[in-house]
Amino acid sequence: MQIGFYFDQTRCTGCSACRVACKDWHDIPAGPENWMRIHYTEKGTFPAVSVSYLIGPCWHCLEPVCVPACPVGAITKREEDGIVVVDPSACLGNEACDEKCRKACPYQAPQFGSQPGARMGKCNYCLDRFQQGKLPNCIEACPVRALDAGPLGKLEELYGTIRETEGFKVSTRTRPAVVFKPKG
């Protein structure tokens, strides 16, 4: 089984409730380590302007390039559900390995705090919640229900198989586990 995300870009207002809910659940201080990011796109000139937002968690790729990039094998993809997880106790820290995982990832999913030696953290699909049968916190936090999560096959059945949207280019190399309802 492979878990994945669904993102309805036509609904997202960029409010960042998902981002704050992520920081709260995982107790991550304000700063550069953001397991959930919000990307902003503005196009056109006044008054013909278009705006879109895009969530940025870890897409738990089918071929996660962060895994082989890690010099100590601290990142693994779980066989049973495809969740990509990091073992922070094995991670060498941002200085010792120069953030190889972050540089390998086309989506900046691996994140580091600002302190020297900070170890990698990333979206783990709220593994603790997942194991209790709950959805990731970002999904339940979305005030406009723009997000969903679950087995990728199920998401494709429900929402289709569109893999690109404004601000997001699908990597055929890593194969991110996400389907979209694109804007525009």
Binding site: C15, D24, V51
Partner: protein
């Protein structure tokens, strides 16, 4: 509460079902995870979808506010100069003796009129609210002077009372799904919430096929999400455009004349004005185009489309009404709703900007009775009056508090203010002209403040009293005018540090002022009493303990609420609560005011600091000060998780930035004769040229040169109110220069 062991020392994680009480536009059930005396996580409502009441980012960061390291934890008194922000820790006994002593001294020296009580909306709940307990105490103490009105909605209130005789002008948000067309006219619920789940319902209305058009100086996030069309408009000119739409409808015979004849009075007077029969100015789309910057053809097209599409909801709000002639905007919106026959109809709207629905409305929330204020007893009867002049005989308009402190009776205010006791507000930051406010606070003989943080206003205090957050007390609260549901606030943690609730502070002060048994009830007794004695609560809450345990009582309605549905179904049996019993497009009560700036029919009126003001040459940009999404006005300003979501910047169109040599991210000064703020520029195509926008609520932080480094929008706004009482926060001219 919810689990067996709720002692603060426990290691067990308890789930506390509660809500916050911010002045935020929503009211969302929260499940706080509490360990020991600390909130460690926040989860939201777990009610069934699709009606789960989902909280916004602000309460997602609630615990960072409650446990913020800068929370005031003990009483302090001033040791530096006023405004310097230097304080010394003192005991509660010393603090309360000091406040009691100053209250007695000022009363003896100047009389009760020397005492000013500044209450506010920082938390909105039954027991722990903006200062009703303090009002009650000072009334018993012989009286006090206080303020009239609110910053948010007075223009909309005046307009709704004039037009309909009622402030309950809203529909259930679900009713938007019945609309074929929705006009977002100055309304941005993605940011200002307008009731939990409102944005969600608006999105569903769009997905249901409604045509959605935004008329706004900014392409805000709501427009970016749901609108098929954005019509940019200059601030303060909405009424001109609406009048020109009426002009098109009337000339082309598109108005719903049957509706107008049956349900309204005064359409002919309005028609005469619109067609220029009175003043010789035909209010054509070309006339409005010149004023508003919206092309005449666009105005014509929108008028025809709005008149032809039924039902259609014109959703005006309160932001454009926070302007120099703000009430005219809401009145004109309501008048268009009547012209198109959309009032009282599912999928339509009444306009008026308040959006309130009568079931479980926050205005009907029980509260501590403040009692009659002796100072106001010989004042005019203000009940139901539309005459703002009467309301400021014994009170001070909220946007004039600091001018009243500076000028007193000589300036036409009710008294000379010597002592201010303030709670639940940060008016220096949140009313017009912050620099003047700072000057005023330095002139007070004594300023006592109940506060959670060392806010810009608190820096000027002589005495600081630390107050509990909502998480540290139990209460009843209500949703913003939406819902319907009722909410219970459960105390999640014991008071932090030496914090006390305002009610406890007032109670202990009462003893020192010689009032025995001022507050004979415990928190629990108060809340049970409120539930028993408030009709809608008593009807809904059958089991107090269950209500407390669950934190919410949902109310199901057979169909969405539609304002004035009863009136439209049977006007003979159910007249409108106006003197004529009908919708008053012409209001005799307004005519009786004899104020050409507060006319009996809605009109477009020029104002100081619009584009025709000679000041426009010196300050050629109009300033907007919308609600921020990542704080509640100035509350939550210190919360890092929220700050990092969106940097505080001034929106400026590249067309205005380029000739000033301003690039994206540059530090700029935004300034006028009232003040100067330093703030980074955000170059965006999402704002109409000639207008800049700074979200209100960032904290005022003047440096030695008087430059506000905090970027407080009100450093630039005016301490003025409209003829209908609206605080003028969106009528200000400024210039921008690279810092």
């Amino acid at each position: 509460m919810n689990t067996a062991d709720s002692s603060p020392d426990s290691d067990e994680v308890r789930i506390v079902r509660t809500t916050s009480t911010f002045d935020c536009g929503g009211r969302c059930p929260l499940r706080l995870h509490v360990k020991g005396n600390r909130i460690i996580r926040v989860e939201g409502d777990e009610g069934p979808e699709p009606e789960q009441l989902r909280t916004c980012l602000r309460c997602r960061a609630y615990r960072q506010m409650v446990h913020h390291p800068e929370r005031l934890m003990f009483p302090q008194k001033r040791v530096g100069a006023k405004g310097e922000g230097k304080f010394k820790r003192i005991s509660w006994d010393e603090a309360l003796d000091l406040l009691a002593g100053e209250l007695i001294r000022v009363k003896e020296q100047y009389g009760n009129q020397g005492l000013f009580l500044a209450t506010g909306g920082g938390y909105l709940a039954s027991l722990h609210n903006g200062g009703l307990a303090a009002s009650r105490l000072l009334a018993q103490f012989g009286g006090y002077v206080t303020h009239y009105g609110n910053i948010s909605s007075e223009g909309a209130v005046w307009a709704s009372l004039t037009q309909y005789g009622s402030v309950m002008v809203g529909h259930s948000r679900e009713d938007m799904l019945n609309s074929r067309m929705i006009l977002l006219w100055g309304w941005d619920p993605a940011r200002m919430i307008s009731g939990t789940n409102t944005m969600y319902h608006l999105i569903k209305a769009k997905e249901n096929g409604a045509r959605i058009i935004a008329v706004d100086p900014r392409y805000h996030d709501t427009a970016a999400t749901v609108a098929q069309e954005w019509i940019p408009i200059r601030p303060g000119t909405d009424t001109a455009m609406m009048i020109a739409m009426a002009n098109v409808m009337i000339k082309e015979g598109l108005q719903d004349q049957v509706f107008l004849d049956k349900y309204t009075v005064g359409f002919d007077r309005f028609k005469a004005y619109v067609l220029g029969k009175e003043d010789g100015q035909d209010k054509t789309p070309a006339w409005a185009a010149e004023i508003s910057g919206v092309a005449a053809a666009t105005i014509e097209r929108l008028a025809r489309e709005y008149a032809a599409t039924k039902p259609a909801a014109l959703m005006d709000c309160q932001g454009p009404a926070r302007s120099a002639m703000g009430e005219q905007y809401n009145r004109c919106a309501a008048t268009l709703c009547a012209l198109t026959g959309n009032v009282g109809r599912p999928g339509g709207s009444a306009g008026g900007g308040l959006m309130g629905t009568p079931v479980a409305h926050m205005f009907r929330m029980p509260a501590i009775p403040p009692g009659k204020n002796p100072f106001e007893q010989d004042g005019p009867n203000v009940k139901g009056t539309l005459d703002i002049r009467l309301r400021v005989v014994k009170r001070v308009h909220i946007n004039k508090i600091f001018d009243a402190i500076l000028r007193g009776r000589a300036g036409g205010y009710p008294s000379d203010i010597k002592l201010m006791w303030s709670m639940c507000n940060n008016y220096l930051n949140q009313t017009g002209n912050s620099n003047q406010a700072a000057r005023a606070l330095k002139t007070l003989e004594f300023l006592a403040l109940n506060e959670l943080f060392l806010t810009p206003q608190a820096r000027y205090a002589d005495l600081l009293l630390p107050v509990t957050s909502t998480a540290e007390r139990s209460d009843l609260t209500r949703p913003w005018p939406s819902g319907p549901y009722l909410t219970f606030v459960n105390r999640a943690i014991e008071p932090l540090g030496e914090c006390k609730s305002d009610l406890d502070i007032v109670t202990e002060l009462a003893t020192r002022l010689g009032f025995k048994d001022f507050n004979p009830f415990s928190e629990d007794q108060w809340l049970r009493m409120f539930v028993e004695k408030t009709p809608d609560l008593a009807a809904q809450i059958k089991d107090f303990d269950q209500f407390q345990r669950e934190g919410i009582q949902r109310i199901s309605l057979p169909e969405p609420i539609v304002a004035f549905k009863e009136q439209i179904e049977d006007i003979e049996k159910n007249p409108f609560p106006t003197p004529s019993g009908k919708i008053e497009i012409y209001s005799q009560r307004a005519a009786d005011l004899n104020n050409p700036l507060c006319p009996p029919i809605p009109q477009y009126l020029g104002t100081p600091e619009d584009r025709n003001d000679p000041l426009y040459e010196k300050y050629p940009l109009q300033l907007l000060t919308p609600h921020p999404r990542n704080r509640v006005h100035s509350e939550l300003y210190k919360v890092d998780w929220l700050r990092e979501v969106e940097p505080h910047r001034v929106w400026i169109n590249p067309v205005d930035a380029r000739p000033r040599g301003v690039s994206d991210g540059d530090e700029v000064y935004v300034f006028n004769d009232r003040g100067r703020v330093a703030i980074p520029a955000w170059l965006t195509e999402r704002i109409i040229p000639g207008v800049v926008s700074i979200f209100e609520g960032a904290w005022y932080a003047p440096d030695e040169q008087g430059i506000d480094r905090g970027g407080c929008a009100n450093t630039l706004t005016k301490d003025a109110y409209s003829p209908g009482g609206a605080s003028v926060m969106n009528t200000a001219l400024v210039e921008v220069r690279k810092a």
